[in-house]
Amino acid sequence: MEYTLTHKTYYDALKKNKLLGLKCKDCATVTCPPKMTCQECTGTNLEITELSGKGKIATFTTSYVAPLGREVEAPYTIVLVELEEGAWIMGNLIDIDPAKVGMELIGRKVKLGFKVFPGDMYSAGEGVRPLFSFLD
């Protein structure tokens, strides 16, 4: 069975600032990032849908240690964002001082951007991550 939405297609859209997800035609759940099956009912009756890219911060951390090859990025803030459509995705948060963020971030409304991770010797090529900034 073929994927309705592969990571490659998802990345290509994200690079154009479009966030793609999968809408389940059986239970209406939106799955994002994409999977083979609906993340609630496990059905495969899925269609690609463009999401608003807006949501609120569910949780966050500022990381002061970075994996090999990414030391120059630290410190950086990682967020899990609950999208308007219900799904959660992981990305980075910009427009803030990573050393000064606190619990007040939780619930803040954010909108999507993107940034390419060029990849390293273990990643089989590049990755694209959502880069969130405050909506208000």
Binding site: P33, F60, S63, Y64, V65, L68, E71
Partner: protein
């Protein structure tokens, strides 16, 4: 299914920069396990081995096969298990299945890791491989980052001010060091204070250095045997009364359920149901405290506290010897160390010794302990649970 017992074990000292290879460490632990079980290498019919990063840390794959040859278990089937930090517990669960089924009578299960040889940047990179590489690693997520995000979520979801939560978390690390000091196998044998925890280097907010387990080298191994064989070889068999295992997807796919980990709830229910026991029957527990917050999350899913309330267990001393549920009396991953491929075998080794009453001399025996629970977590969602029971 036949009853299966653990009849002997071996455990190296956990440490930073071991002078030995991963195979050497596991061979020493394995030979101790074989000898203490009154067996010879030729008696071992199969080997189940946890090892996660030997490929990266010393350019060594297939450690299970070289181990078998090194200790003279020539040509036995030897299998490697990879479930990140839960690898060895997975190996023990499978070893249990093969003996319970009647296919083998005597097997060796254990694990080894030489993580510190990688140095911190590569170790941080490889440990980050146990999160989703396509959708989450591009954001720079790493091992502490996952639990750091769960800590903030825990504070928010259960309405515990972060400052208060941090103080509770500090008590978890302080207790681990208190018991680790008494464990000769532990990597750290020194007490720490709440102030030291709260003033440590920030690793991934809100987790500071002493909220985090270390990178470690070490190995542990156990011999599992059928009840019939076990009774001939030892007066103190420890039976595996229940097993459970479950998996889950990337952190974002666990969304609404977080900070609870559904896989743990599924896994421990399997183990409790199989043993015909519940949380109230557990006398001593080793749970997966890779980060201080992980202990609270685990204790709740295992049924020792209501959700959002586990911090009170440590505050009230209920997790110490003499408390309601003694937890991580080995020092836990925090103080004993966390050589990831070996950790599950180390947890089982310590519970077996508790149930045999072997820890009086180390000053950390839970008196009269008859039933123990092991809980091991790999990455953001592989869980294995084992319930062990003393013979008498």
């Amino acid at each position: 299914m036949r009853r299966v017992a653990i009849i002997g074990g071996g455990h190296t000292k956990f440490m930073f920069n071991s002078p030995q290879s991963g195979v050497e460490m596991l061979a020493e632990a394995s030979m101790d396990a074989i000898t203490r079980s009154n067996l010879k290498p030729k008696d071992v019919q199969a080997i189940y081995c946890g090892n996660v990063l030997g490929d990266f840390s010393e350019g060594q794959g297939m450690v299970q096969s070289y181990l078998a040859d090194d200790i003279g278990c020539f040509n036995v089937p030897a299998s490697r298990f990879e479930g990140a930090c839960a690898s060895a517990t997975m190996a023990i669960r499978d070893a249990f299945m093969w003996v319970a089924s009647g296919y083998y009578d005597i097997v060796l299960a254990g694990g080894t890791e030489k993580a510190t040889a990688m140095g911190t940047p590569l170790a941080t990179r490889t440990f980050a491989m146990f999160s989703d590489g396509r959708y989450e690693y591009p954001s720079g997520i790493n091992f502490p980052g996952i639990f750091a995000m769960l800590a903030h979520l825990y504070s928010s979801k259960y309405n515990i001010p972060l400052k208060k939560l941090k103080e509770m978390l500090a008590l978890v690390s302080v207790q681990s060091h208190f018991y680790g000091m008494k464990n000769p196998h532990a990597q750290f044998q020194k007490e720490i204070t709440v102030d030291q925890v709260l003033n440590g280097f920030m690793v991934s907010s809100p987790l500071q250095l002493l909220d985090c387990c270390p990178f470690s080298d070490g190995a542990a191994a156990l011999i599992l045997a059928s009840e019939e064989v076990a009774k001939k070889l030892t007066d103190k068999p420890v039976y595996i009364a229940g097993v459970g295992q479950a998996s889950s997807g990337k952190l974002s796919a666990q969304y609404k359920y977080l900070p609870r980990l559904r896989a743990r709830e599924v896994s421990v229910k399997q183990a409790y149901d199989m043993a015909g026991l519940g949380p109230k029957d557990i006398d001593v527990c080793e749970l997966h405290d890779c980060f201080s917050i992980a202990s609270l999350i685990a204790a709740e899913s295992l049924g020792f506290a209501d959700f959002g309330k586990a911090g009170e267990l440590w505050e009230k001393g209920e997790t110490k010897i003499g408390g309601k549920i003694p937890i991580n009396i080995s020092g836990g991953l925090k103080s004993k160390g966390h050589p990831i491929g070996a950790t599950g075998a180390s947890q089982v080794y310590d519970i077996v010794r508790q149930l045999r009453g072997d820890l009086v001399n180390e000053g950390r025996q839970v008196e009269g302990a008859k039933v123990g629970l092991v809980d091991t977590l790999g990455g953001d969602g592989v869980i294995v649970n084992l319930i062990l029971k003393a013979a008498h």
